[in-house]
């Protein structure tokens, strides 16, 4: 007879999750599942709206990575009106650079939040420290200077997002074929030089290195534990440019295996030819996988770790991030890095990379130029568009179709957390197995719960935005006794 252990809820990730671990009579972990019991339905209710409203509506999916959704949608709109890399009419430099700037601002902001608010306290205090301490407030007492820098960094990031998109949250800048405003000189100078209460760009670059230092110190002291924690296999996926290096805003989709051999590389417009999505009755979240390899072998890892496994290097104009990346690559000697907690290392490198790219963009005079939108002739209308960006959590895809009048008839979103669904479950299974596998008494300890949380949090999942509805909304109601053992479960 098999048994179930239930852990609920997972704290500190946005949205709610429920974990169920399956065990056999010999106390071996047979499976683990992260349940997603939220449904948002954005794909349905964008239908019937004018196409140009889609990125505005759909960015409301999330209060953290809204810029990614906005830009991903904007890229799909570019396609629809006939502005694209594959067609004759090309995006102008100013709007493309404005969008990239917004995107890096978002990346910086999102990563800084996830990393310093949730992950750094876990590293500094240990994953078994009391929950009250194991967060950014605990950090206030332990390292006020670091917190001060993090607060300053986040504030700068917010001001940057506001300067590009008009608001700190859910701003609007992209329109089909371009943007609605450039960055004026005053706004640029304020971000570069800072002012009272706002740090300068040089400070941003300096503070952005803190994360890496914290990880390296932690790693040096706990190398064996960090490396052994949930080392799980998966393919790695990222957008890449012509040189095969990560491009956070545009490119081909590349998937590599553990030896970094290319398994697939394709134009993201063809994603339906390459990907299938499996559904499970127990989760609203789908399971995408590569058709060519099947569900088990064809699941990919996206996000910071996936990207750094795919890319060979960064642009030459970001020396600090490139040096950090080289060290990261050397650690696994040319193989892909499957160590879940190294996601945090990768995230720290991406913080630095974003900061350096922001610096490059802010010194580009194209941002002050006035040619903001290119509008193709009416006969260029394609009416269908796909946008893909590398969002903080990984590869994000928006796909829309509209009829001749511009009425949205179809929308499909594949968010990063969905791509990571299988690898997250593998992570949980690995952690559960480390704590429970073969033990005489299967017991959910505090330590195991914390470890599972740490494993999930490495992916920084945004569960509510990763869900799709399939059929009737099933409910799982679980009753537990004080020991965490199952008393009763009702399933609709």
């Amino acid at each position: 007879m098999s048994r179930k252990l239930v852990i609920d809820p997972v704290s500190k990730i946005e949205g709610h999750g429920k974990v169920i671990v399956y065990m056999d009579d010999d106390n071996q972990v047979t499976d683990a599942k992260l349940y997603v019991a939220e449904f948002r339905g954005f794909e349905k209710f964008v239908q019937g709206h004018p196409y140009w409203e889609a990125p505005m509506l759909l960015q409301r999916i999330c209060g953290i990575c809204f810029v990614s959704h906005h830009l991903c949608g904007a890229k799909a709109l570019d396609d629809m009106v006939g502005v694209g890399y594959s067609t004759g009419v090309q995006m102008l430099p100013t709007p493309e650079k404005m969008r990239r700037l917004g995107h890096y601002m978002q990346q910086l902001q999102s990563h800084v939040t996830a990393y310093f608010y949730c992950i750094v306290p876990e590293m500094l205090f240990g994953m078994d420290a009391p929950p009250q301490q194991r967060n950014v407030v605990g950090l206030v007492e332990a390292d006020p200077e670091l917190v001060k820098r993090v607060v300053a960094l986040r504030k700068w990031g917010q001001e940057g997002i506001k300067a590009v998109l008009g608001k700190r949250m859910h701003g609007i800048n992209s329109v089909p074929g371009g943007v609605s405003q450039n960055l004026d000189q005053a706004a640029r100078d304020r971000l570069i030089n800072g002012e009272e209460g706002l740090i300068s760009l040089d400070d941003v670059i300096e503070y952005a290195q803190d994360g890496l230092k914290v990880f390296k110190d932690f790693h040096a002291k706990n190398r064996a534990e960090v490396d052994a924690f949930a080392e799980v296999p998966a393919l790695n996926m990222s957008l890449v440019n012509d040189e095969g290096n990560v491009d956070y805003y545009h490119g081909d989709i590349r998937i590599v295996d553990k030896d970094k051999n290319i398994v697939e590389q394709f134009d993201y417009h063809d994603y339906l030819d390459y990907f299938s999505e499996a559904t499970e009755e127990w989760s609203y979240m789908k399971f995408p996988f590569l058709k060519s390899l099947g569900r088990e072998a064809g699941s990919v890892r996206v996000g910071a770790l996936g990207r750094l496994n795919v890319t060979k290097s960064y642009e030459h104009n970001c020396p600090l991030a490139n040096a950090a990346l080289e060290e990261f690559h050397d650690y696994t000697g040319g193989k892909a890095n499957d160590m879940t907690l190294h996601t945090n290392w990768a995230r720290a490198i991406e913080i630095l990379h974003s900061a350096e790219q922001i610096k490059v963009l802010l010194s580009d005079p194209d941002l002050q130029k006035d040619q903001l939108v290119i509008t193709p002739a009416d006969n260029a209308w394609i009416g269908e568009g796909v946008g893909v960006v590398e969002a903080p959590r990984g590869t994000l895809l928006h796909h829309y179709r509209a009829d001749k009048a511009g009425n949205i008839t179809f929308a499909n979103l594949i968010v990063a957390t969905t791509q990571n669904n299988t690898v997250m479950n593998r992570t949980i299974r690995s952690v559960a197995d480390a704590y429970l596998g073969g033990k005489e008494q299967a017991e959910i300890t505090e330590g195991m719960m914390n470890a599972i949380e740490v494993g999930i949090r490495a992916y920084d999942p945004c569960l509510s935005c990763a869900t799709h509805a399939m059929g009737q909304m099933p409910l799982v109601i679980t009753l537990l006794d004080a020991d965490g053992k199952l008393i009763e479960e009702k399933i609709r």
């Binding site: 409203e53 409301r60 608001k167 859910h170």
Partner: protein, 234 residues
């Protein structure tokens, strides 16, 4: 003829026959409006400008002032009544400001802020309304129509003077309709005029949206109250 009226307890000298809503604005008293367009014939459809005149509730855009008139605008009960009217409009249609391209230049949204509305006290009806996008240049996002009839009365075919917009059916069945043939004859500047005349995001130009950045939209630059009060002809 010069006459005296009382406006919220203040004695005001004005000209007989001027519209109450304009007289109030000329004297620094803002009365919110949605269907009214200064200088155009009054429609009196939205009732958002309701005030108390000699003890009775009336729409200020429909009332020519007369000597001795006693007008209460900012009296709590009347203020709340106007707020309720605005709330009703939000309950009846499907107004989703965050993704609406009219946000920041929408008169309904601006008036909502002016009357201090946070949420509607009435249950939202979520009425299913179909969109109309049959004409070449205009889109009717019917979710947002408040039946003010500005477009019906003020936008007409240049050649024949025929109405281009109309309201079909009555009550809860009412819908705003567009004569596609006439609409397709509208010159671009009239298309623009119709979209700008619509106080909400119901009549919108196809393929054009969000072109004004945040912070530079009509009512972000100057509030609807300031705009109403500055056009005074003292």
């Amino acid at each position: 003829m010069r006459i005296h009226i009382t406006l919220d307890g203040q004695s005001v000298i004005t000209r007989e026959g001027d519209m109450l809503v304009d007289v109030a604005a000329s004297n620094g008293v803002y009365i919110p409006t949605l269907c009214y367009v200064r200088g155009k014939p009054c429609l009196g459809t939205c009732r958002t400008c309701s005030v108390r005149v000699n003890g009775n509730i009336m729409a200020a855009c429909t009332i020519p002032v007369s000597d001795g008139m006693e007008v209460e605008v900012n009296e709590p009960e009347v203020t709340d009544m106007r707020k309720a009217l605005v709330e009703l409009l939000f309950s009846e249609g499907n107004h989703n400001c965050p993704s609406c391209e009219k946000s920041g230049r929408c008169e309904l949204q601006a008036v909502g802020y002016e009357v201090g509305m946070m949420v509607s006290r009435f249950p939202y009806k979520f009425t299913p309304r179909t969109r109309d996008y049959a004409s070449n240049a205009l889109w009717l996002e019917r979710d947002r129509c408040i039946f003010c009839q500005r477009c019906v009365e003020m936008i007409r075919d240049k050649e024949t003077g025929q109405k281009i917009f109309s309201i079909e059916s009555r009550g809860t069945q009412a819908t705003i309709e567009i004569d596609v043939e006439l609409a397709n004859r509208m010159p671009p500047e009239q298309v623009r005029e119709a979209a700008e005349l619509c106080p909400v995001g119901c009549i919108i130009e196809k393929s054009l949206g969000f072109n004004d950045p945040i912070g530079k939209r009509k009512f972000e630059i100057k509030s609807i109250r300031e705009r109403a009060l500055e056009r005074v002809d003292k």
